[in-house]
Amino acid sequence: MNNAPYDAGVPAFGTGVLYAFVVSAAISLALAVTAGVDRRGAAPRLLRAARMSALGTCALVALDVLLLLYAFLSHDFRIRYVAHYSDRSMPTTYLITALWGGQDGSLLWWTFLLSGYTAAVVLWLRGRLRELAPWVIATLMGVQLFFGVLMTWAANPFAASFAGAPLEGEGLNPSLQNFYMAIHPPSLYVGFVGCAVPFAFAVAALITGRLGQEWVQAVRRWVLFAWVFLSIGNVLGMLWAYEELGWGGFWAWDPVENAACLPWWTLTAFLHSVMIQERRGILKVWNVSLVIVSFFLTLFGTFLTRSGLISSVHSFAQSEIGIYFVYFMALVALFGAGLVVWRLPLLRKPAELDALLSREAMFVANNWMLLGICVFIAVATTWPKVSEWLWDERLTVGATFYNAWLAPVGVVLLALIGVGTLTPWRKGSPKLLARAFRGPLAAGLGAGVAHAVFGRAVGLPAVVHVDPIYDVWTRVHLGPLTLGSINVGRSLAWLDGHLPAVAVGVLAFNVAAVAQEFYRGTAARAQSKGEAAPTALARLVSRNRRRYGGYIVHLGFFMMFMGWVGAGWRQESEATLAPGASFTVGRYALTYEGTEMRRDATKRQVLARVHVRRGGDDLGVLTPARFIYTARPEQPTTEVAIRSGLREDLYVMMATVNPDTKVAHLKAYVNPLTLWIWLGGLVLIAGVLLAMWPEASTVAASALSARPAAAVAAALLALGLASGEARAQMSHDTTQGGADLARPATPEEQRLFAKVRCMCGGCPRESLATCTCGWAASARERLRDRLRRGETMQAIVDAYVERYGPESLEVPPDRGHNKGLYVLPLVALAAGGVGAFALARRWARRRSAANTEAEAKTREAPSADAASDEKRYDDRIDEELRGLDD
């Protein structure tokens, strides 16, 4: 309680500052533009004014955030947002996280991060990039202006409560009161908002027509920064889903998860293709477009989360501001595309490649793959909406669809990484390439064969059974000719079933390729400089940080990929048990010993004691739990218990418990190799750190040093990993009694449940197989009965769809226009592949024509004078080469 006189005006003052922010952002934008177009010599002065007023604008945003924080700390319930998301009993930590816990506040928080970036960029720009600077500032201010307008018109966090100040706030939703809510959104936001900076530089480069190396070099560090936080944000999202959602997996292909990863693909593509621009000065249009698209996708992601357009587990954030985002997205798209088209004549340069067999060409291929995956995800994410608009048919595209289609594509991408690693820059000769590929190929084949032979024995079989997502024969016509029939679902299931062995082989190939890269580099250096191997390795890496940092990032990615492959071997089991009874999952025997009750100020905790044994080993007790918050007893949260290991995780979750009989319904999963995902995340950060290092050291007094930031990032993730005591949410359970006496599902039942969704109306996008709500339990019971009565699976599914509509299917049926869902991305992928190959080949041809010309020129004997001139320049070249960073 704080009714001191000096805080009387916080709501009004906060709103006032918001208006001031809009005005000052507009003024800064105007000043920056004036500085940009000025041709009368006033530009430096105006630029300084623009920089100052941009910094002032950022200070105003900071002021507003601090005011809101003060309102939270002093429980100023006159403000609707504060009343809605906090109460007097909340600890200070959650009062702070409440800043971004809800809609209006998270927009302010977003703007605040953008201001942080803006301030850092503005300070960093001092004394450099004179021509680009005004336009960079103008663009950032334009984006700020949008958020300012959005807040003042539609989402003012300082808006007053409707019926005056309530005596007590409603409190933060318990599902948001956990450790991950404190770190997952901020780190994802940092990545998302960070995309605005490269966008600003790209716009500046387009407007000024300075599209060469300048902006690319300026922007590389900022892109890496945003990229690493985007990666961490996504990994933390996986960790959150794994530890909090209680369904045993880590990535559900939820629309919001998809939206968060879309810009990651385009930024990754940019980080690769920019290396070609640095070397060859080509792909300028492409790089500029990638940056603009990435920024657009971050807006699109925010829009998806905020508009509630597509149902998702993040739907807590729904509101009416979606339409503003639509306008802004349209503006960004038109503006960006317009600029690119306008500058097209400047951007075009006859592109050349030394050879088709070169790393440059491999990068073109990798861009094609990354973009292909991005398009695939984007199409599948938006398909339900498209279908509703065009055909008035409500659909769902569930995780099953993404997993089935993207797994093979992912393996192709993985293989491309390895091939790219082994292909030299500039020009590969078949003979030397064969030598480079020999070792890794042998390793890959060996691992694949070993896996095929021994895999089953260690519980990780090389071929797994995958249930087809469709089972429809489609006749393929070519004009009047019938070419034959194809069953897309079964072919895909066959492919997916054989993927584990392939993936293991490709992973081994990749790891061997990177290892060989380190080994050969070290050996060459040790030989030529006569250094001992460890010294040679250390010097090699420190002299070529970008190259080897990149390889380490790849290693981290491989480790994460291992975890994803491991998900294919997941085993699960469930049982309803009285105290003392046991059930098994994988190699583990679980004994339910009974429940325990604990109480603290805000909640009751019901913990189940589950004794775990493996073979003869006693592995101790796990305690999955449910928390019942006093504020919201109707939403008990699910707290899973996980026993992590390098080989596999044992994951136990308590669905229900009867308070009288103590009969509990438990679910257990064995998740092979999941730990590798989080470890891979750490390795990935280490690689980025290494790649950023030299750059940071050259930035004197940089306002935003990359190193501490990356270290903070690593610490964040490590913190996330260390907090095994993850406390969690699962909000849709209404059954607390022992009504749900589910038995373990037979494989056939499991397959049936995986085909349809929970249609209780509260659970977004959960498949019936994984949903933990009471409605799902009774629906499962009904379907079981029908199976028992001898009905076919297809008939049961058809009846279910009949009753609940086509959106109750996990995967849209393989017929009519819904074929477009996979045909469109596949066609795009194929067309992109053909296009990329044709382009690369044309560039390589052009180069060989130029080569013969150049050779003819060098054959003319140079005069003595020219020769000495050449000698002088050659010396300088050697000099500069020594100083060139990697």
Binding site: L67, Y70, E278, K427, R520, N544, E879, L881
Partner: protein, 212 residues
């Protein structure tokens, strides 16, 4: 804050913003300990408000008063020399790449020879173009560098050899041997100044620019 911009080069002054920010946070921490978090937050809010006001005042002054100096920055006018610089960098990177690939045995000797000759030629052409672009300043800078190196050689220091790329720094280090008057307001400026430090108007005349 008024006269601060004129002292921008003073190393003491350069730490002032950091000191102010540090001081503000120190007070915030002290208040937080003594009076609770809310008071500290209020103090920080006040500090940002003050900061915003000062920054806006400074912005306003610079926007309206033509006699104030602006942001000086090393800049070039785009065009030929930027292109050449980029080409040079590309060629150098290519040379580094192929040397590395050869060292780990992935690029054949013949291919290396051919590529090296090609990229060396490209780098030479680009450097020549850059040199021509730098024109009259290059000779001066090299002479100054030579005197500096000679001086350093006496004091037994190994010169960080990065010849003649950055023109401004050595010139700035040697005190006023030549100066240039601003064509508009006749203020004395450094010989390599692109904009007048007093009135901000362009120092390089059209003739020089097209020379370059």
């Amino acid at each position: 804050m008024g006269s601060t911009t004129d002292r921008g080069d003073d190393p003491l002054y350069r730490h002032v913003p950091a000191l102010i920010v540090g001081g503000v946070f120190a007070v915030a921490v002290a208040l937080g300990v003594a009076r609770g978090g809310a008071t500290a937050v209020l103090w920080l809010a006040f500090a940002s408000l003050a900061g915003a006001v000062l920054l806006f005042w400074e912005a306003l002054r610079h926007a309206l008063d033509p006699s104030l100096p602006g942001d000086e920055a090393l800049t070039d006018e785009g065009g030929a020399s930027v292109e050449a610089e980029a080409k040079k960098r590309e060629a150098l990177r290519a040379l580094k790449d192929i040397a590395f690939e050869r060292s780990i045995g992935r690029l054949g000797e013949d291919d290396y020879k051919a590529l090296e000759a090609r990229y060396r030629a490209e780098a030479r052409d680009a450097m020549r173009a850059v040199d021509e672009g730098l024109g009259p300043w290059l000779a001066k800078a090299e002479a100054q560098l030579a005197t500096i190196e000679a001086g350093e050689a006496k004091t037994d220091a190994t010169p960080e050899a990065e010849p003649a790329v950055s023109v401004a720094e050595p010139a700035a280090e040697t005190p006023t041997e030549t100066t240039r008057a601003c064509p508009k307001c006749a203020t004395t400026n450094d010989p390599d100044a692109v904009f007048c430090k007093k009135c901000g108007s362009r120092m390089v005349t059209e003739a020089e620019a097209s020379d370059a």
